[in-house]
Amino acid sequence: MALLDVKNLEAAYGPTKVLHGISFALEEGGITTILGANGAGKTTTLRAVCNMVATRGEVTLAGARIDGLSTEDIVRRGVAHVPDGRGTFLQLSVEENLRLGGYVRRDKAAMLVDIERMYGLFPRLGERRWQQAGTLSGGEQQMLAVSRALMLRPKLLLLDEPSFGLAPLIVREIFRTMRQINKDEKVSMLLVEQNAALALDLADHAYLLETGRIVMSGTAEQIKNDDTVRRSYLGY
């Protein structure tokens, strides 16, 4: 059974419809990516799964419908979101950001262990634990955003363009860590990216989104070898 099953999802900002009934599924333990150009509706897709925009359609998580639930309750079902723009709490310290990531958890002792684990994954965050998060570099803030989401111990991690605006070296570090987390902890991931080559390397399944509609889907391998995708998104 799919961990996340989305059927005929529509989303709109006021009168402007952005998603025109998309359907996709994500296997438990898998990494699925949604590719698309600017304005295709990638960010909106993730927002719609978390009910942050006006939506219609069915969203099922581990067999239970979650469409119609508030964002706060969807988080409590184990969906963590690394949002567009990283969503850092700029005036709070790095450690406070991480503590907020585990806000809905009740196992305090395990949470402290998890905070140390994040510093293990990203040692640079550990060096800056008492620093105001607003003083971190873009790459460090992205590491913080990923760690904050992991603090929930999520079943499903939604990632909105984690490579955006970062130096290639840092992007590689973040993607390596995500692969490791997926392997070691079986966290399923839904990754939205403009950088198709990067995303297809990490993911096992891929969907192609064009102006609010899914135009192609398959395994990452199939999509990677498709001529149209190669020409328009991979550029070779």
Partner: protein, 289 residues
């Protein structure tokens, strides 16, 4: 010299009250970006509740505790039922709602308890303990303010709920994404502000006497304090409160006389807004146009 020192110390005591009012204003400002004009009248109404309980034969500190708890609850209810429905409305709409609340609380207090001025008891002993430098009520007020400040500091700094409240005020979208129930955090912010206001009201009432308009001047001082510190900075607001308290007292005693004391607050407000709108510790917000 002794007289001057007394003015400074007394100024610190009233400054504590202004600090509390300023802190309440800042708490609401952080989540709504507006100054709650009804903050003073809410505090006045709370003080009347305390007065009624004490008149009914209750001991002072029990009445104090009940008043703080009731104010917390009423603050939460006001946010949930009156402020939340207009939270997406224009600035002017919300300001009108604030002024409406001000008028309602003022009129209700007069209607229930009449407009005649009442004396309000001080919980601290009459007989001077600290000599002529500071009266017991001034010392007590200072002590109570400091306790309130320490409790708030511990709450916001070290509890998950306090952290969630700070997060919700700063970044509501991200807060929802980690599961913080932002709506309730804002309501709780109103409750806390109302509770702090209630403490300020009960501490100031023995000095200014209890009547429905008693907080009008205090709110002005509180507003001046919050502006000095930077309207979005709680610690600045507290420091601003003490600065305004001392300034008001010293200037009132030596420079302009007691009749013109309230002018100090107005001059501070105008001066800060024209010279340094961000206050001492406020954030300068740059908007791209």
């Amino acid at each position: 010299m002794d007289a001057f020192l007394h003015q400074v110390v007394a100024g610190l005591a009233t400054g504590g009250i202004y600090a509390a009012v300023a802190l309440a204003l800042v708490m609401i400002y952080q989540s709504t970006h507006l100054v709650n004009f009804a903050q003073g009248e809410m505090a006045m109404f709370s003080t009347y509740i305390a007065w009624a309980l004490i008149e009914g034969g209750m001991s002072y500190w029990l009445a104090f505790a009940i008043t703080v708890a009731v104010s917390l609850g009423v603050g939460i209810l006001i946010q949930r039922f009156i402020i939340r429905p207009v939270s997406n409305a224009s600035v002017l709409t919300v300001v009108v709602v604030f002024i409406g609340l001000l008028a309602i609380f003022n009129a209700m207090a007069g209607w229930i308890w009449s407009h005649t001025i009442k004396s309000f008891p001080s919980p601290f002993p009459e007989k001077p303990i600290f000599g002529s430098l500071i009266s017991n009520h001034e010392m007590g007020t200072l002590g109570v303010t400091l306790i309130v400040l320490i409790l708030l500091y511990v709450f916001f700094r070290y509890t998950p709920l306090g952290l969630a409240m700070r997060a919700a005020a700063q970044n509501p979208v991200s807060s929802r994404l980690v599961g913080v129930r932002v709506g309730w955090m804002l309501a709780l912010g109103w409750g806390l502000a109302a509770a702090i206001g209630a403490v300020a009201g009960m501490m100031v009432a023995p000095i200014v006497y209890l009547d429905p308009n008693m907080m009008a001047g205090i709110l002005l001082y509180g507003f001046a304090s919050a502006l000095i510190g930077g309207i979005d900075n709680p610690w600045g607001a507290v420091l601003g409160g003490f600065i305004v308290g001392v300034l008001e007292n010293v200037l009132g005693a030596y420079v302009i006389g007691t009749e013109l004391k309230l002018t100090v607050a107005l001059v501070i407000i105008v001066a800060v807004l024209t010279v340094k709108p961000s206050g001492l510790f406020g954030k300068v917000i740059v908007t791209r146009v």
